[in-house]
Symmetry: C2
Subunit: 115 residues, 2 copies
Amino acid sequence: MLVRKLEDIETQDVIAYGSTKTKIQWLISKEQGAPHFAMRLFTLEPGAVIGTHAHPEEHEIFVLKGEMGLIAGNGEKTHVKATNAIYVPPFEKHGYRNDGNEQVQFICVIPLLEK
Amino acid sequence: MLVRKLEDIETQDVIAYGSTKTKIQWLISKEQGAPHFAMRLFTLEPGAVIGTHAHPEEHEIFVLKGEMGLIAGNGEKTHVKATNAIYVPPFEKHGYRNDGNEQVQFICVIPLLEK
């Protein structure tokens, strides 16, 4: 078993898709030996945006903290908050917008698809 | 996208492996269309035990709340707490023991292996 402390895990800026004020930490992935999927932690400051995008990887998300808007391909916004679980199917457009006053954190798991 | 509220998700007792005082909620799984892995939430009351066991599925775990002992195959106990991420490789023995005074919650993701 491998135990990782959050404070020991590198924090990276998310810049793809015109994203702002957003950090990612890869909690468990290939580097730790994971064969099938990777668990990441996202931190969105107030005003943060992750631009709408799509990819073959589905998402399984659990919101730890705060509230935010989940943006669909047609621009429609769904309000989600701490303790909500979210499933985003493969190839479905999605984005995120922290339009609250509080930091948002969520866990997002993606498959490690063979390229 | 599918958003699920925790309070709308069925809570089941965990009874396998001699487990006690432990509940599971399947947040996202095959029923929601997930193709590769399932996200579950475990809630362990003080004194809760999940007996040591092993299986082909690896675990990726994130502790949301509380502190507990993680039990290895040799009986060795590792103390883990909220914000720790844990990787349990396939076939490695593991168990859990909430020997604190506080409720423990953790997210645990497993692959949906073909049987």
